[in-house]
């Protein structure tokens, strides 16, 4: 065990830190999760991703032949840490970078990798995920969007729902049913759909926050070339699970929690309770310390997993818990902030008197959305118990 970074790594850290100081977009792009539905945000943040990529700070561990740098995952961790530290804006290409990219690297054809990966890196093509359907949430494998093979095309009909960022997306990685007669997990294929194809309608859904973050996507005879199949026909479920694995780790990422804890702490130092700062309140101190302990545990937990990854160890139960623990921790952090604010927690984020720039009311709700999305906590616990602890299946 050695938590020291090499001199080269420390130099790299200083380099990205300096880069961020000098190049961080000055305004219009918050680090928060809100406001990501509008077009202006998209254009500005695409420009930001391109700049970041051109400077060598995007997906550093990806293979060189597809635009990556084949660096050690430690470098990527350093970049992530520094981005969070600098309050850098979210990248618009997140779904491509965090979910589809790693999936394609494992499962894509050479042609697919060459065609798609570079544009994920530059942010030139924005991706969205076509998984959930109105009747298929926790039971994802029951999905019914059909793709019939006609000639060398899939013809897709059906509907997806909860599609984050579909309004901005150029492409979708999508699960479709290609064999309706097979058992439900065996008739699914994983295909890549051009979102500009005729027959696609995107209709925004409004979140409880009042924002339009996700969408319904309708497919009416949408033609997709057969070469857009990832993995084998009818064997998309295994590819889908690779993507889910990456999604869940992304959602449960510890990187943001530390920043949120610091923000919570700064907030509570400013709030008065009974004439003293809330941080001097013995009861709230317990809560803060407990949250910080859990945040720190998750920080070390990701370093441990990073080390396992470098050592080539297959992820086990310690990785399956990330999504459950990480998203619940973030919701607990936001709930604590709401309670800390007292009556001020009743203000909407648009109010002029709202504390901490209205960060928390949105975060409080959105973090609960993430406890639900990508497999609710109930589903995560099933997975942990059945796959991680080998407890008997019940379904």
């Amino acid at each position: 065990m050695d938590l020291n970074f090499t001199t080269a790594e420390e130099e790299f850290r200083l380099k990205i830190r300096r880069f961020l100081e000098e190049n961080l977009p000055k305004s219009g792009l918050g680090a928060g999760r809100e406001g990501r539905e509008d077009k202006a945000w998209l254009e500005k943040s695409k420009a930001w991703q391109r700049k970041l990529y051109e400077s060598g700070y995007v997906a550093l561990a990806w293979p060189k032949e597809y635009g990556g740098q084949a660096l050690d995952p430690v470098c990527q961790t350093i970049v992530n840490d520094e981005m969070v530290r600098a309050n850098a804006p979210y990248l618009p290409g997140g779904s491509g970078l965090g979910m589809l990219g790693p999936t394609l690297i494992s499962w894509g054809t050479e042609e697919q990798k060459r065609r798609y990966l570079p544009k994920i890196l530059t942010g030139e093509e924005i991706w969205c995920q076509g998984y959930s359907e109105p009747g298929s949430g926790s039971d994802l494998a029951s999905l019914r969007t059909r793709a019939e093979i006609i000639g060398d095309e899939f013809v897709v009909n059906g509907q997806k729902v909860w599609t984050s960022g579909a309004q901005h997306a150029d492409m979708m990685f999508c699960l479709v049913r290609t064999d309706p007669d097979a058992p439900k997990h065996r008739g699914i294929s994983y295909i890549l759909i051009d979102m500009h194809s005729p027959g696609i309608t995107v209709r925004p859904l409004v979140q409880m926050t009042g924002d339009k973050g996700f969408n319904e996507v309708f497919f009416d005879n949408v033609h997709v070339p057969r070469k857009n199949l990832v993995g084998k026909l009818n064997e998309g479920w295994i590819v889908a699970n690779a993507t889910l694995f990456h999604e869940r780790n992304m959602l449960g990422s510890a990187t943001g929690s530390e920043q949120r804890f610091n923000r919570l702490l700064a907030l509570t130092k400013k709030i008065k309770r009974g004439g003293r700062a809330l941080t001097e309140d013995a009861v709230f101190r317990q809560r803060l310390a407990d949250l910080e302990i859990r945040v720190e545990a998750m920080r070390f937990h990701s370093l441990r997993q990073l080390t396992d990854q470098i050592r080539g160890r297959n992820p086990g139960v310690e990785t399956m818990i990330n999504k459950l623990v990480g998203t619940e921790l973030n919701h607990d952090l936001a709930t604590a902030a709401m309670e800390a604010m007292g009556d001020y927690s009743m203000l909407a984020r648009e109010d002029a008197s709202v504390l901490d720039h209205g960060y928390w009311p949105y975060e409080w709700m959105f973090s609960l959305g993430l406890v639900i999305g990508g497999g609710t906590s109930h589903i995560q616990k099933n997975i942990i118990a059945e796959r991680g602890l080998k407890m008997p299946k019940s379904r």
């Binding site: 009747g135 859904l205 926050t209 009743m346 648009e350 639900i372």
Partner: protein, 368 residues
């Protein structure tokens, strides 16, 4: 020994449930949410006809002269419906303060129209600090003949722009009252509305600049009692709210299917629902006692008001959080109604003091 609602109270509850499910369904609540005033004028007219607005107004001022347990039953139903509008603040709290603290003349002037549904009152207690104690207020009252003049800024005043009069807490000269009635149209009263997270309610900031005020001093120590009534009232609303959230989640779990069966047949969802109801039912019993203790003016009434506020608000917040989760993705949408209660729980939790603050008070009043 009889620990339960009376026949009249049960009838009141049943008729309120019936009325509100017809007139104040979520679709109606959403209309109020979208409207600037944040209430349903028609419903407010109807409830005046039903006698709700005058429920605790003394008979001599045209009300029904009922008690806190009666109003708790009604507030539970309003919480169940997430009924928007000023009722809790106007017909319960402002009415209570004026009825107990005002002269007959003041009562006649303010409460008669309130009972008839022709006027609205509100309460202006909180300031930008977290304390509700008069000694910590920056708002002051200076005697002016038989009346007073009030100056200061009050925050989170419910439905401030709708209110015809306000019951204002202020730091007075020694021996003076803590509570005052102020006509909203008086010179020196300025209202600025705030933007609420819980859109079933509206709050505003009210600035008083030497505004003319009537001291409410007929009953001594009225202000702490008003805070206790407020705690019980919010607790009642919370009881109804968590009940509704549970009902919605359970109902949804019976129709939504995954893995070929209703999600309510999965043990995980059953257990969450069972945990919620196991918190709700004893909390209901606690609330009844807290309301009864106010009516019977028991010595431990303040302590039980704090118990009810702490417990019901905890149960409401935790219950709505879990109810959203039980819904899955649909629960996170604007379109689905569960977020109305989820946000209302947050309002209730902070208003009149957090659960932690009330637990500390339970300890203090309990002599430990």
């Amino acid at each position: 020994m009889d620990f339960g609602l009376s026949e009249e109270q049960r009838q009141l509850k049943a008729s309120a449930r019936e009325f509100l499910s017809a007139e104040c369904a979520p679709s109606a609540v959403r209309k109020a949410m979208a409207a600037q005033e944040g209430r349903l004028a028609e419903v407010d007219r109807e409830i005046a006809k039903l006698g709700w607005t005058g429920l605790i107004v003394p008979e001599k001022f045209g009300g029904a002269g009922l008690g806190i347990l009666d109003v708790a039953v009604l507030l539970e139903e309003q919480g169940y419906a997430a009924m928007p509008g000023p009722f809790l603040f106007s017909s319960v709290l402002a009415a209570y303060a004026v009825a107990r603290g005002g002269s007959d003349e003041t009562g006649d002037k303010l409460l008669r129209p309130l009972a008839e549904g022709k006027a609205i009152g509100t309460i202006a207690l909180a300031e930008s600090g977290d304390s509700l104690a008069p000694r910590d207020f920056s708002t002051t009252a200076i005697a002016d003949g038989t009346g007073a003049r009030i100056s200061g800024v009050k925050e989170f005043v419910p439905y401030a722009s709708l209110a015809d009069f306000m019951v204002v807490a202020a730091r007075g000269d020694s021996g003076s009252a803590d509570l005052f009635a102020v006509d909203s149209s008086a010179k020196g009263v300025r209202v600025e509305m705030l933007k609420n997270l819980d859109l079933t309610r509206r709050v505003g900031r009210v600035t008083f600049d030497q505004a003319a005020a009537i001291p409410l001093r007929r009953e001594p120590a009225l202000y702490p009692r008003l805070l206790d009534i407020g705690a019980v009232a919010i607790a009642s609303d919370s009881l109804g709210g968590v009940e509704r959230a549970l009902d919605m989640a359970v109902d949804y779990s019976k129709v939504r299917e995954q893995f070929g069966k209703p999600i309510g047949s999965f043990q995980a969802l059953k257990h969450v629902a069972a945990e919620i109801v196991s918190e709700v039912e004893p909390a209901r019993s606690l609330l009844w006692y807290a309301a009864y203790a106010q009516d019977a003016r028991l010595a431990d009434a303040p302590r039980f008001a704090s118990m009810a506020k702490a417990r019901l608000c905890d149960v409401y917040s935790r219950g709505t959080d879990r109810a959203v989760l039980m819904h899955g993705g649909i629960g996170f949408t604007w379109e689905h109604d569960i977020h109305l209660w989820f946000k209302r729980a947050r309002f209730n939790e902070s208003y009149f003091g957090s659960p932690a603050l009330h637990r500390e008070r339970v300890a203090q009043l309990g002599g430990y």
